[in-house]
């Protein structure tokens, strides 16, 4: 059961900040894992900002999500500097290893696979980010080895 009272607490913690909606949504997402309709409705009620506007913001930015994602979000860069250094081969191997297409989550809810825009790590391209950790100079083999570590870690903590 979700304790929507947490939403009110988060909103209250930003009462000194001018136009804090993006911060509120970030914290709420951190607390609940995603920005579902129910949660956004509560944010609208507490902040007195129209739900349509909040929904517009929640679906505009790529770091927000309205559906629950895996424990580890893999964000692969495929922008031009990574592209010319072989990001496609890395991505293909990751897809094959996890059995996922883009924007899908594994059945055990461990991994979600997404694209990211340039992470500014192009000197060590190709790169990916798993939650807040960044990995560079990837090869298909190296990427799979990193994912194996996460899989072990994730299953041990499950």
């Amino acid at each position: 059961m979700q304790d929507l009272g947490k939403v009110d607490e988060i909103v209250k913690s930003y009462k000194e900040t001018k136009t804090p909606l993006i911060y509120i949504l970030k914290d709420v997402q951190k607390e609940f894992g995603c920005l579902s309709d129910k949660i956004l409705t509560r944010v609208a009620k507490t902040t007195k900002i129209p739900l349509s506007e909040i929904y517009g913001v929640a679906t505009f930015y790529s770091l927000f999500t309205t559906v629950k994602k895996g424990k580890y979000i893999i964000r692969c860069c495929n922008n031009a500097p990574c592209h010319v250094k072989g990001s496609k081969e890395v991505l293909d191997r990751i897809k094959e290893y996890l059995g996922l297409e883009m924007n899908e989550t594994t059945p055990d809810n461990l991994f979600t696979l997404e694209f990211t825009s340039c992470l500014g790590l192009c000197a060590v391209a190709p790169v990916m980010m798993i939650n807040d950790e960044v990995y560079g100079n990837l090869t298909p083999e190296k990427a799979v080895a990193i994912l194996k570590d996460y899989k072990m870690k994730g299953q041990a903590n499950a």
């Binding site: 804090p20 506007e53 913001v57 927000f64 031009a80």
Partner: protein, 533 residues
């Protein structure tokens, strides 16, 4: 007193190669060897060596080690620190020679360091080190000896142009905001660095955050603003943390807050994090985002210096622009102009990426040639491959080919050939790459990042992608190539903001120099037909 200092580069690039675990291992091994009183480990920004793994320097010997792994740490400690013998297999000797001339900026080979003068030299988490390297001297000078208009005039005289990519004269922009009569004005540091291939702002924020703070305070003093926002993209966690720490320290030292240097000037800063949207690098979209809305660009005019954040006069300056300011104020406009060319003064920070042996961040005087950057600073193209093209300024940047290798890269020269310096990202592409596939990659990016506000950009990027997919799937016709060109030209003229207007630049560039590559994809019979006709 510590006998030895180990500087370890802690920037996003080295962290992506395991710098955290090497540092932890260093600390652990040093305490095991009971050396923590003698040896101090200092985290610093980028040391200017990229793609060579974890990099550290042992002082006072100034020995650079690269590619350091966790298992190498005990050897460095037992051999170098205890016995004084350099671990040669890890030594990195390719350090450009440093030349210091009085009154000039330090030179490293081809590089001249103004913006990056402290990066990789000081501990960015320690304000004392910034102060020891003449930090906050410019702010003291401005607040005690200069009127706001003197600051504006110095910046105008220096010829500094905005380093976000538009190269608009900074002093002129300031004048617009200074003229506005308003109780509230704002300064925004645009650190929403999202242009693919660009990471200069990231490394400035992570290597020398106080230079940006000082630059913002100077801007605030010049235009009469008391509040600033640093808008950093949400993906740049490390930049956000370093910047927050720096702001807190500046506040503790009375360098931000009320009545700075006992003057009547008060100034404070707040970080605002982005939430993942390339378009927010456009200044009015950025302002919308700080206002808690979708980051969609506004109609211009009015421009932000008149009507900006919450409707108030607002200056939006890029990280690199701001980091130039302290030295312009303390050393003067003439000093700044001693680098670069007459119309493009100063230095420019470039990021070299793609198929290049020595990728990374460099700062060079304006007017350097592409050949010097690629073949001297960048050490050429790896694996014996040839040069196909370079894209200057990020994914919206213009296309340069071998005929441009010796063109001095200045704002005006590049403008003449329909390109620009843009964000300073230089993507080098070798001759094994497929141009059409590359253009498709550019368009995928624009299609994803178009904010959806205007029809030409939203639909145009989608249709361009369809046409390119049609070509690469072997279903294309010759007229599709013409259609791509027409559509790109229409977008360039009619899109609402810089994204849609600039997206066609690399497409048209590739068509101009490599049209044949597009036509190769057209179904064979039609190629034959065209040949007959």
């Amino acid at each position: 007193m510590h006998r030895i200092h180990i500087l370890i580069a802690m920037d996003a690039h080295t962290i992506a190669q395991g710098a955290h675990s090497v540092k932890d291992e260093l600390q652990r091994e040093l305490s095991l060897a009971a050396l923590t009183d003698e040896v101090r480990v200092v985290e610093t920004g980028s040391l200017g060596i990229y793609n060579k793994g974890v990099v550290l320097v042992v002082f006072p010997d100034a020995v650079y080690y690269a590619g350091v792994k966790v298992e190498d740490v005990s050897e460095i400690i037992s051999e170098h620190l205890i016995k004084g013998r350099i671990v040669e297999r890890l030594q990195y000797a390719d350090i450009p020679e440093t030349k210091e001339e009085e009154g000039k900026a330090p030179r490293f080979g081809k590089q001249v360091r103004v913006v990056l003068k402290n990066a990789g030299i000081i501990d960015p988490d320690n304000i004392e080190e910034y102060i020891a390297h003449d930090g906050y001297e410019a702010m003291g000078k401005a607040l005690t000896e200069m009127k706001p208009e003197d600051v504006i005039n110095t910046v105008k005289e220096s010829g500094l142009q905005g380093r976000g990519g538009a190269f608009f004269p900074t002093g002129m922009k300031w004048e617009f905001a200074a003229r506005e009569k308003s109780e509230e004005k704002y300064i925004i540091c645009n650190a929403d660095e999202g242009e693919p291939g660009t990471f200069k702002d990231r490394l400035i924020l992570e290597g020398d955050p106080h230079a940006v703070i000082e630059g913002m305070a100077l801007t605030g003093y010049a235009v009469g603003a008391n509040k600033g926002f640093v808008y950093i993209r949400g993906e740049y966690k490390m930049s956000i943390n370093r910047m927050q720490k720096a702001i807190d320290q500046a506040r503790e030292h009375g360098l931000l807050g009320k009545n700075i240097f006992n003057s009547s000037f008060s100034f404070d800063l707040e970080i605002r994090e982005g939430a993942g949207a390339y378009i927010c690098g456009e200044e009015t979209a950025l302002i919308e985002s700080i206002e808690g809305k979708r980051g969609e660009p506004r109609d211009k005019p009015p421009f932000p210096p008149s009507v900006g954040l919450w409707g108030k006069p607002t200056i939006v300056n890029n990280v690199e622009t701001l980091a130039n300011l302290p030295q312009i104020i303390s050393k003067g406009a003439a000093w700044y102009k001693s680098n670069g060319t007459e119309k493009s003064p100063g230095t420019k920070v470039f990021t070299m990426v793609g198929n290049i042996k020595n990728p990374g961040l460099i700062e060079v005087p304006m007017g350097i040639t592409l050949r010097e950057i690629i073949y001297e600073v960048g050490q050429g193209i790896p694996d014996g491959k040839g040069f196909l093209l370079a894209q200057m300024g990020g994914t919206t940047g213009g296309i340069l080919t071998s005929e441009h290798l010796d063109l001095p890269m200045t704002v005006e020269n590049l403008r003449e050939i329909g390109a620009g310096l843009g964000s300073g990202a230089l993507l080098v592409v070798d001759d094994s790459q497929d141009v059409v596939d590359l253009v498709k990659n550019f368009v995928e990016f624009f299609n994803h990042e178009s904010c959806g506000k205007c029809t030409l950009c939203r639909e145009g990027t989608g249709r361009l992608l369809e046409l390119l997919e049609k070509l690469t799937d072997g279903r294309g016709e010759l007229k599709d190539v013409d259609l791509i060109e027409d559509l790109a030209k229409v977008m360039m003229k009619g899109a609402f903001c810089g994204l849609g207007q600039a997206a066609p630049v690399p497409i048209l560039g590739c068509l101009r120099y490599f049209r044949g590559e597009f036509e190769k994809y057209v179904k064979k019979p039609q190629v034959a037909q065209a040949a007959v006709a």
